[in-house]
Amino acid sequence: MIAIKNLTYSINKNTLFSGLTFEGASGNILQILGSNGSGKTTLLKILSGITEPSKGDLEIIGSPKKLFLGHKIPIKDYFTNLQNFLSLNPDASESNFNQYCEQVNLSTSKTLLSSALSFGQKKKLLLSKIFLSSYDILFLDEPFVGLDRETIGIIKDRILEMKVNGTTIFLTSHQEVLDGDVVINLDSGLITK
């Protein structure tokens, strides 16, 4: 479980959000909504331990297996698709790559350099991490941006499957994309359950 109390973040005398208090239990989906620049990514980075908050407490019980997938795509252009896949999923094999490509309709060759992939295809390759491993807490920053409708459906199904398995999922978006157990609206400061 993850508990946040009076969380505040300011940068250059500009307060992005203040006094945020909420809890994320096992198997919860927490949606962080807000307009551009409202601090969605920053909040996600604070929760995942990448950034320190200006004020407030962040308590994570136990030592959960976490993963943050941000806007940026850590796919190396000089690696082949298979090399990138194995670099992201060290325990996976070539057959996992073929299965995954089939699952998300990623029509590409394992020997092709990833520089040839489109943004959406690279994102599909990155999202293999959530298909091949299980996590206790997942932080997804705009996970559906750049993906086709069919893939969005597949990713949503996987997120719901992980929720059932007890993963706490934080995800940011401009509008509500899934039925969240908790919705944190950074524009209004409202937290609804």
Binding site: G49, I73, K76, F79
Partner: protein, 211 residues
């Protein structure tokens, strides 16, 4: 292991510094007179400057890619040790750039008549000095990660001066065949200390950049 693979695939990042170093080493005797006695006397300074230059070039983009494409963020979120990742990057750089440069440097030193004996001492010395310089410049690269790494590298240039002076003395002693084991131990100790300290400092600074 992943860092070795990454560096290996980025041919420009490891082959570039080695080729530049080799070109300087080839151009040096050609620009003088190949039979000139000045070759031996001025070779040391050319070697030092070449090492500085290649350490500078090889570390310029050592962290940039992983910083800008989100690799570091993902790695930290998975509770990965940034210090360990930086150490891996340093090790990959030492083995794929510093070691070949030490070998090339040694062969040219022998060819120019600057080193007639103590080949092994010369090789170890060049490698350790290159290790120190690379550690310092990699630290510089981490300082100005989001403002162009070259700025940070220039700012840490004064830190490299003691290593340059030490290397100069080392080459002097080598040419006189006065190299003692304690001198090599000193270089080894300094390179290990700078390797660990600068890797630790770099890891802390990268984390600060991510915040």
């Amino acid at each position: 292991m992943n860092e070795f693979k990454k560096l290996f695939q980025k041919t420009r990042n490891w082959l570039g510094p080695i080729l530049i170093f080799t070109m300087v080493m080839i151009a040096f005797p050609l620009s003088l007179n190949i039979y000139s006695s000045e070759l031996v006397s001025s070779f040391e300074s050319i070697l030092v400057i070449s090492l500085l230059m290649t350490a500078f070039i090889s570390t310029e983009g050592i962290f940039n890619e992983d910083y800008s494409d989100g690799t570091f963020e993902m790695y930290i979120s998975e509770d990965g040790s940034m210090f360990q990742l930086v150490l891996e990057k340093f090790c990959a750089n030492f083995l794929m750039v510093s070691l070949p440069i030490a070998l090339v440097g040694l062969s040219f030193a022998v060819a120019n008549g600057a080193i007639l004996e103590n080949y092994l001492s010369a090789l170890i010395g060049i490698f350790f000095v290159n290790t120190i310089l690379t550690s310092i410049f990699a630290f510089g690269s981490s300082i100005s990660l989001n403002k162009g790494a070259i700025l940070g590298i220039i700012s840490v240039l004064p830190f490299s001066m003691p290593a340059v002076i030490l290397f100069g003395r080392f080459l002097d002693n080598l040419s006189l065949d006065h190299i003692s084991l304690s001198f090599l131990q000193l270089l080894a100790g300094l390179s290990i200390i700078s390797f660990l300290i600068f890797a630790w400092l770099s890891s802390k600074i990268i984390k600060l950049h991510l915040e």
